[in-house]
């Protein structure tokens, strides 16, 4: 014999159906409206920075995955390293992309009080690459790429690849993340990679004008 729901409980449930549904909706609102349950993972990024005189050009590829059975709606900010010497970029673009960086569809950002953000919808078990491009003026010979925002995800990046290209006539003066390699055939290109990366500091790099080989102090 199948168990039956007591008549009293059934009646109470029917009477309070609106409240029960209201609770479900409140739960749904909290789940979708705020990032209280960060079920989405930010697990990979590939950053390329080109330095030319008085300008930093950045292309970033970011990978997000939603391992959950529920869809996820993300509100993401796009922080720029802005200070007196580095102005807020006037031109930037955000788009969903393929893993090799080709744009699939542009994402229209929102701008409120100088903060740039965008919203992204991920279906259950879906993952997306997002490509961000920006050009920033630099009145000094140093720049920063913000890495520490990774910590807001409360889990390390599975992998991060970072490439710095310096234009002809410039040379690397310093970087707080030591480059592991240079790219064969490409002068002035430095790269480093990290796995399980939980950065405690942003990537700061500086450059200077290259000293011509003939005046470098070597023997004639």
């Amino acid at each position: 014999m199948l168990p039956t729901v007591p008549a009293g409980l059934r009646k109470r449930t029917r009477r309070n159906a609106d409240l029960l549904l209201a609770l479900v909706l409140i739960g749904l609102a909290i789940y979708t409206g705020c990032n209280v349950f960060p079920q989405v993972h930010f697990d990979r990024e590939r950053i390329e920075v080109w330095v030319v005189p008085r300008q930093i050009q950045v292309t970033g590829l970011y990978h997000y995955s939603n391992p959950s059975r529920l869809p996820a709606l993300l509100s993401l900010g796009l922080p720029f390293p802005v200070d007196a010497e580095h102005l807020r970029p006037s031109t930037y673009s955000i788009a969903t992309a393929t893993a090799d960086g080709h744009v699939v569809a542009p994402i229209r950002p929102t701008e409120r009080h100088g903060e740039v953000g965008f919203r992204m919808f991920l279906r259950p078990h879906e993952d997306k690459w997002v490509r961000v491009d920006y050009v920033q003026g630099a009145s000094v010979s140093r720049g920063t790429y913000i890495l520490t925002t990774t910590r807001k995800w409360h889990r390390p990046l599975e992998r991060g690849d970072y490439v710095l290209h310096l234009s002809a006539g410039l040379e690397l003066a310093s970087t707080n993340y030591h480059p592991e390699a240079t790219v064969k055939g490409e002068k002035n290109t430095y790269l480093f990679s990290r796995t399980d990366f939980y950065p405690s500091e942003d990537w700061n790099f500086a450059w200077r004008e290259a000293v011509p080989a003939s005046s470098a102090g070597g023997r004639p």
Partner: protein, 312 residues
């Protein structure tokens, strides 16, 4: 009839009205589903949508209409559902479909209820205003998701294309024996890789060809020149048609107005709308991207562009 007020429609007629309104709305929303990843609404679209609630509440008050017992019982739930609809509508095009249906049904139903349950002749006018505002708000929201000034996107794309071309020039120079830069035809003919971020990059030859198109491409016309020794190059991106970037306003109907104005300005053709830009851009062998708003569109020279400010 529940609710106490006099009724101008029977139950069957009201049902028919609701169904028709729903059908019209579905046709509108399905027609405007955008191809973009996710579009947040322009401020006026969202504001119009949120204004549905005060319009309904004030309409009910002015018409002297009242809620039924059943409606009172479910008011918390209904409020939450509508609140959730607004949250999803705020998110953008990928989540806005169903909330728009809910809000349309809610607004139109309330308009019909005002007509059915209100007092005096004014109830018809008030009910119609509520219905019309709802229709306007929902369509304004839909338009605000899909129609906006393309200037900004075109500028971003132009900058990406300039960078891609400059990188191709560097690659060509590195691979050539004489370390010279090449024309677009030379880049194409030698199969120099173009790290072009649009269109999958599968057909690289075709990707170069679009830079040679005189009609322009996504709002910009490109020019590539190499000096006689091949030691310097200059690439410019000039808008096909000059238009200032229009920043969205919060005033309801701004998106509608923009859509209608650009349609009439472009001789009733939506397609030509894509040929506008504001700033000119240029890059040379130094890799520095420069930009200037010339207030018009015309060919630019290397000397002239060297005076422009680096892009910031």
């Amino acid at each position: 009839m529940a609710g106490g007020g006099p009724s101008v429609f029977g139950r069957g007629q009201a049902m028919k009205l609701r169904r028709r309104a729903g059908l019209i709305f579905l046709m509108v929303t399905l027609g405007v589903l955008p191809a973009w990843a996710n579009n947040p609404p322009q401020p006026d679209g969202l504001f119009s949508l949120i204004l549905i609630f005060p319009v309904v509440i004030i309409g009910f008050r002015l018409a002297g209409a009242s809620y039924t017992q059943g409606e009172r019982k479910w008011r918390i739930l209904r409020g939450l559902l509508l609140g959730l609809s607004v949250i999803f509508a705020m998110a953008g095009s990928e989540t806005a479909g169903l909330p728009m249906v809910f809000l349309l049904i809610f607004g139109c139903m309330r308009g019909v209820q005002i007509i059915m349950r209100g007092h005096g002749a004014k109830r018809i006018a008030i009910g119609l205003v509520v219905c019309l505002w709802t229709l306007f708000a929902v369509t304004d929201y839909g338009v605000s998701l899909t129609v906006w000034s393309p200037v900004r996107v075109h500028q971003e794309m132009a900058v990406m294309k300039l960078r891609a071309l400059a990188k191709a020039e560097e690659t060509y120079s590195r691979n050539s024996v004489s370390r010279r830069y090449g024309t677009i035809e030379q880049l194409r003919d030698t199969g120099t890789p173009l790290d072009f971020p649009w269109g999958g990059g599968s057909d690289k030859g075709r990707a170069y060809d679009v830079f040679l198109n005189d009609k322009g491409w996504s709002g910009y016309r490109y020019g590539v020149s190499v000096d006689s020794l091949g030691e310097k190059f200059f690439i410019s991106a000039v808008p096909v048609a000059y238009e200032k970037d229009v920043r969205p306003l919060v005033i309801p109907g701004t998106s509608w107005l923009y859509a209608l104005r650009s349609r009439s300005a472009q001789n009733n053709s939506w397609k030509q709308d894509s040929e506008v830009g504001q700033r000119c851009f240029a890059i040379d062998e130094t890799g520095v991207i420069r930009a200037a708003d010339l207030g018009t569109t015309r060919a630019v020279t290397h000397d002239e562009a060297e005076e422009w400010k680096p892009l910031q």
